[in-house]
């Protein structure tokens, strides 16, 4: 198993009353697999993703359980240990492509950043070459020009592609996509999903796809986890979940999908 | 429990600021009716007397009671700063509201002028003013007031630009509400929070600017008391009578500090 999560619990203590956002969640992810986590906002799906990526705040957070990545414990690992994995073995892209890139740095610089950190011996030309390849891998037109641009010169969809390119530059074994399409137009959403699908096949990279959009998850994922109020409600293959949901919350979610097929 | 919720509601900064400000305001209020001594009464026997129970802050080089003069000076400073902010706010709100709401060529022209005035440090503008119209408190008020208009105008303008695009304003326009009514009744009250914090910052700047001008001898004229001119006089006797400098200076600091702590507290 690439990733094994056992009894993960996350509690916030930054208010007067402790807030339990994730409760006893366990699941695993095989190499090259695409796993979807669905749930409404506040279900704990994003917090689970942040915990895996090592991006939980240090203060006021109580975490329990284990996150094993290739057998290494991440949840209670030191910052230094985490940093070796971040950007190198695990890449992550976020919901807001408009604000997730540094506005005052060039695209190329940002895409190459993980290489500078994790492959310090690599020559400048090699890095540049890799970055441009990555930019063309994510189907950006004129990668050479995009390399020199600033974030504000690109559209939301293009920025999300840049985010993917920079998350994948070190060829990580796991890409976490935290609601990567929510802020984008519907047509662009589909393109991004197809892109993730293609990259998964070509690079043999596992994807943890987090979304509240069931129809996208169904299109993309091999397996699905349903979360609600911090609890893992149900998990199974995409087919199982959609054709034979066991929990009534899952059924409600599925019924809530606005479906053209239904009308036709 | 009660203490805890009080602390949460009023951070320590705010409480300290409020206490300082209230004390200062009470002192200023008192100075309108009563000062321990006549501020111009000279007493050669107590020239540069050290602080004592008779003269709380000592006496100056003419034997005048420093505490009384500090009180009067604070009053002068406060009145001038207050009037300055009133002029600055009134002018700034008018210009900012109209340019922000209507835009167009009026906006372009007025904002260019505002930019030019803004590029001019306020003390320098006041110096120009004073050199043309002469010294004295009302000239200082006029000079600083005009110098303060641009910063208020800019803030109000950007608020109006933000609000004029909002749906509730659009629907008021469609409903046929008059422009002036939209400007002053529908939009202006919403700019209150932003305006309030810049008024407080403006007040502090006005206090500092007034003190600076009277230090240079172009503000309130002797024998009337002002904190700045007291500081200027005190310098000659700095070695023998440091308290002469300390108290007027301390009062300026407290006046500004109280207000800025209060402003920070309100913002948070």
């Amino acid at each position: 198993m690439l990733l094994e999560i056992k009894d993960l619990s996350i509690e916030f203590h930054d208010h007067d009353v402790p807030e339990r956002v994730v409760h006893d969640v366990s699941f695993s992810l095989a190499e090259g697999e695409i796993l979807g986590i669905v749930g409404e906002s506040g279900s704990g799906k994003s917090m689970t993703a942040m915990a895996i990526a090592g991006l939980l705040k240090r203060h006021d957070v109580e975490k329990k359980g284990t996150i094993l990545f290739e057998g290494t414990e991440l949840l209670h690992a030191s910052r230094a240990q985490l940093r070796k994995v971040q950007g190198n073995d695990i890449g992550i892209i976020f919901q807001e492509p408009m604000t997730s890139l540094n506005p005052v740095k060039r695209i190329g610089w940002q895409v190459e950043e993980s290489l500078r950190i994790h492959r310090p011996d690599m020559s400048k030309e090699e890095r540049r070459h890799r970055a441009i390849t990555a930019l063309s891998d994510v189907e950006l037109p004129n990668p050479e020009q995009v390399y020199k641009k600033y974030p504000h010169e690109l559209s939301g969809g293009m920025r999300q592609r840049v985010m993917i390119a920079s998350a994948m530059i070190c060829e990580p074994k796991l890409l976490i996509a935290d609601e990567p399409t929510t802020a984008l137009d519907v047509t662009i959403q589909l393109q991004i999903v197809k892109l993730l699908q293609r990259l998964n096949k070509e690079k043999k990279m596992a994807v943890l796809f987090i979304s509240h959009d069931l129809s996208l998850v169904k299109r993309l994922c091999d397996r699905i986890i349903v979360m609600h109020n911090g609890d893992l409600v149900e998990q199974g293959s995409a087919q199982e979940i959609f054709e034979n949901p066991k929990e009534c919350y899952t059924k409600e979610l599925i019924d809530a999908i606005p479906r053209l097929e239904k009308l036709v | 429990m009660l203490m805890k919720s009080f602390r949460k509601k009023y951070p320590p900064n705010f409480v300290i600021g409020a206490v300082i400000t209230v004390v200062m305001l009470l002192l200023i209020l008192m100075s309108f009716f009563y000062t321990p001594y006549d501020i111009t009464k000279m007493d050669s026997a107590s020239k540069l007397a050290a602080p004592s129970f008779r003269h709380l802050m000592g006496c100056d080089n003419f034997g005048r009671d420093i505490f009384s003069r500090v009180l009067k000076g604070m009053e002068n400073t406060f009145v001038i700063a207050f009037l300055t902010v009133v002029i600055g706010t009134a002018g700034g709100v008018l210009i900012g509201a109209f340019t922000g709401y209507f835009g167009g060529w009026l906006d372009e022209v007025l904002m260019r002028i505002i930019d030019v005035v803004f590029a001019f440090p306020s003390i320098l503008l006041a110096l120009v003013f004073v050199s043309i119209f002469g010294t004295g408190r009302y000239n200082v008020v006029a000079a600083l007031g005009v110098a303060f208009i641009p910063s208020f105008a800019r803030i109000v303008r950007s608020e109006f630009i933000k609000y004029r695009e909002m749906d509730y304003v659009k629907s008021a326009q469609l409903a046929g509400v008059g422009r002036l009514r939209i400007i002053f009744v529908h939009i202006l009250p919403n700019t209150f929070t932003v305006l309030m914090s810049s008024i407080m910052i403006g007040f502090n700047n006005a206090v500092l600017a007034e003190a600076g001008m009277s230090y240079l001898g172009i503000g309130v004229q002797p024998p009337d008391a002002s904190l700045g001119s007291m500081l200027s006089e005190s310098q000659t006797y700095l070695f023998s009578a440091p308290w002469y400098a300390v108290f007027p200076g301390l009062m300026i600091i407290l006046l500004v500090l109280g207000f800025s702590l209060l402003a920070d507290g309100i913002k948070a």
């Binding site: 992550i92 993980s114 504000h152 | 590029a119 003390i123």
Partner: protein, 315 residues
């Protein structure tokens, strides 16, 4: 470079506007060069004749452009009081004021940058809280009172310099600098407080933004995130403040010159105001305004270099 050109044109227009307004202001007040030369109790005929001779009866705009033209060529007019060319009076004093402003500015940036970054990095910590309180008090101290405190503490108690013992840079550079450093500290201290506060707030605000999370997700450590990502963004508002402060310091040194008894531009300006020596006042005001506007222009250019969004956007 379109942006730079636009800002340059704006700067020229602003300078033109200021010079026009200042000239207009001094033109409408009673009293002119002829009156100043002859005194108030002179026969009207002689006054009129001199006015004609000096070209004071020409239309306003003609006189303005004439004045402007000689101003840019370095002829600032003649002092009413001393009957000397204004340029000669100013030229030897200008360096003192400018050097003071520059040293103060250097002190301010050199101190506030590390302190601001430190407090931002350790925000909420004990040192941060102490510095915040000190800042709050510093900001409330008028810089001329700061000057008086420094005179008392360093001049009278520790005897590090002789209050009032200004040494000209022409005679003794080292002596000049060791005297000037104290007024510069007086100017810089309140400004340090303000810029530390802004830099800290700006860094803390930037640190909450999404791109910082992205930077961490790539394996950056806190220092790298701070220096490679946050700082450049956080500096944008600070640069604006610094630009305004440089102008403030130039004007502030006028006041501080009085505290430390330094014969700079401020001294001439104040005596000229009290003697109603208008050509001198006019020249100094326009000159200072000119420096201020050029400074603002430089800030705008630096701004354009730091923030790529400015060059392309409409504004």
């Amino acid at each position: 470079m379109k942006y730079g050109l636009k800002k340059f044109v704006t700067m020229l227009i602003t300078i033109l506007c200021i010079s026009f307004l200042v000239y207009l202001a001094f033109d409408v007040i009673p009293g002119d060069a002829a009156l100043a030369a002859l005194g108030t109790d002179v026969e009207p005929e002689r006054l009129a004749a001199l006015r004609e001779e000096m070209g004071l009866n020409r239309p306003f705009l003609e006189r303005y452009f004439d004045w402007l033209l000689s101003f840019v060529t370095g002829d600032f007019g003649t002092s009413y009081k001393y009957n000397l060319p204004v340029a000669d009076m100013i030229v030897s004093k200008l360096p003192v004021t400018v050097i003071m402003a520059l040293i103060s500015f250097i002190i301010m940036t050199a101190v506030s940058l590390p302190v601001g970054i430190y407090t931002a990095k350790h925000s909420g910590g004990r040192i941060d809280r102490v510095i915040t309180v000190v800042n709050q008090i510093m900001m409330s101290v008028p810089h001329f009172f700061m000057g008086i405190i420094i005179t008392y503490v360093f001049g009278m108690v520790f005897k590090l310099f002789t209050p009032g013992g200004f040494v000209s840079y022409e005679t003794d550079i080292a002596g000049f600098l060791s005297y000037i450093i104290f007024p510069c500290i007086a100017i810089a201290l309140p400004k340090i407080a303000m810029s530390v506060k802004l830099l800290r707030g700006s860094c803390v605000g930037e640190a909450k933004k999404d791109y910082v999370r992205t930077a961490y997700s790539k394996g950056n450590n806190t220092n790298k995130v701070l220096y490679r990502h946050v700082l450049k963004n956080a500096m944008i508002p600070v640069i604006t403040l610094w630009g305004m402060m440089l102008a403030d310091m130039l004007v502030g040194s006028i006041v501080i010159e009085q505290v430390f008894n330094i014969p700079g531009i401020g001294r001439i300006l104040l005596t000229s105001i009290s003697y109603r020596d208008y050509p001198v006042v006019e020249a100094i005001i326009v000159l200072i305004a000119f420096v201020v506007v050029v400074t603002n222009f430089c800030v705008d250019i630096i701004y354009g270099i730091i923030d790529p969004r400015i060059n392309v956007g409409a504004e």
